[in-house]
Amino acid sequence: MDISERTVGVGAGAAQTGDAVSAKDMATEDMVLNIGPQHPSTHGVLRLRLRLDGEQIVSAEPIVGYMHRGAEKLFEVRDYRQIVVLANRHDWLSAFANELGVVLAVERMLGMEVPERATWARTLLAELNRVLNHLMFLGSYPLEMGAITPIFYAFTEREYLQAVMEEVSGGRMHYMFNRVGGLKEELPAGWTGRARATVAEVRHGMVRVEEIIHGNEIFRARTRGVGVLTREQILQYGVSGPIARASGVDFDLRRDEPYLAYGELGDVLRVVTRTEGDCHARFSCLLDQVAVSLNLADACLDRLEALPPGPINQRLPKVLKAPEGHVYQWTENPLGLNGYFLVSRGEKTPWRMKLRSASFNNVQVLKELLPGNLVADMIAILGSMFFVVGDIDK
């Protein structure tokens, strides 16, 4: 039988022993560690192939595709109403923002005017959806670091918000509330009052989340200065969203290329940025963005209540066809830039609909970010990249 002996990595302690065989002289070889595709954290099925020297990561390769569902191909056999079903499912934490991109693209193709009430209601729901998304990560990130309590608080707030979203759309996660030309139906009577109360409730609840984790000494020790992304890396890899802003890339489509009603919300919309670029900065970016989104939601509610009654959608023809041509529509999704490139040949289905999703770019940078770090820090870094696997694999 062929037996060989291999030394896979030497612990840091070996260097201190002062034996004749010191760690330096020992021939070691790197260990390949496979993380995923199934792991007990909330990441879903991202797989990472790490090459380790002892506890240190030498190289990392994200292997994607375990969640590939072929949505882009399916867009080609769905008409413009049905596309929304698939479009809101790739990033399941920001369903409203995803469907928004599709309908905005189709509306631009058609040159369709959207009623003012619909625009304000869309802005409001998009911001509430952003809060829902961020709350998930504000809960799950500490969980991965060993702090179990914040996720219970985060989900308490999520349930309040989901009740509000469910009342308006009927869905807890996948709202299917956007239609080409507006929203599905009028907001329920008295809903704005309940939404306002919920926003106040969540704002109050955020204090708990912030107090329990943001200033926590252990949490800071594990995240400060860990996984620092530079501005250059951000630009090279096309990283966007709160992760980019945590490294000082001051770019937010809501301000820089306003869509919906964001152009009129300039005095409320504050783009949250940090300069450190480490895990802690990314986390606090998320935390501050929740506060901004709640302020935006309040501003939208004020505006909605002041608007005169009117239609909230357009009457659509029986068969909806986009004219021949192409359009690229990008929006500021909770996790970053989300773009739809829509090519139409004048039929009732798109000829091609390319999806640029935020998480795909955000995860690529792991290859550059992970090497040199310890395995324990990998958890902190991976969690702070705030990705959704469906958004990576589409």
């Binding site: 007990p40 099925v45 590939h68 399916l74 996720i151």
Partner: protein, 190 residues
């Protein structure tokens, strides 16, 4: 090592050999114990995993039904909840993790995608239903199902466990040859 130093053929391990002859009260107590201590292993794949997490949080809290979401991995779990789309690339991993679970084991298929492919039924890379690769005990419909639906599915599974006999569940399957008549030779041609 056998008598001659060669390998020994051991019988396949079987669950509940005595369960069939156990008196009814004993079976009842065993089933009662199993139904209220379901260590669950969440196969979180897609959107439905978020609703699974919601179900485990303070509002819905399935721990009060005896479902314990702290199984460190499939080897320590009794129940696998497949929540989300099973893609063709993921399917072998699902099967493998199912096989790692010790008997008796149960599977809840949570959501339209794992039931039948759901909105991705016509995709080129989606397995149309996790029941093609692992046996499923309870299907929970919805896209994604509400947490209440998962709670209902769990209660149905517990009812199923209460009424079952492990001896029958794991009764040896007769070989296929015993069910089929032997091949008859082709009639001779003149």
């Amino acid at each position: 090592m056998g008598v001659n130093g060669g390998p020994v053929d051991l019988p396949d391990p079987r669950v509940g050999a005595l369960s069939r002859v156990a008196p009814k009260p004993v079976r009842y107590v065993l089933n009662w114990g199993r139904r209220y201590s379901l260590w669950v292993f969440n196969f979180g794949l897609a959107c439905c995993a978020i609703e699974f997490i919601s179900t485990s949080m303070s509002r819905h809290d399935f721990i009060r039904f005896g479902v314990i979401p702290f199984a460190p991995g499939p080897r320590q779990a009794d129940l696998m909840v497949v929540s989300g789309t099973v893609s063709d690339k993921m399917a072998p991993a699902v099967r493998r993790l199912y096989e790692q679970m010790p008997d008796p084991k149960y599977v809840i298929s949570f959501g339209a995608c794992s039931n039948s492919g759901g909105p991705y039924w016509d995709s080129y890379c989606v397995t149309n239903g996790v029941d093609q690769i692992v046996p499923v005990d309870v299907y929970v419909p919805g896209c994604p199902p509400r947490p209440e639906a998962l709670l209902h599915g769990i209660v149905r599974l517990q009812e199923k466990i209460a009424g079952e006999s492990l001896g029958e569940r794991y009764a040896p399957v007769p070989p296929a040859a015993a069910l089929a008549s032997p091949l008859r030779p082709a009639p001779e041609r003149p």
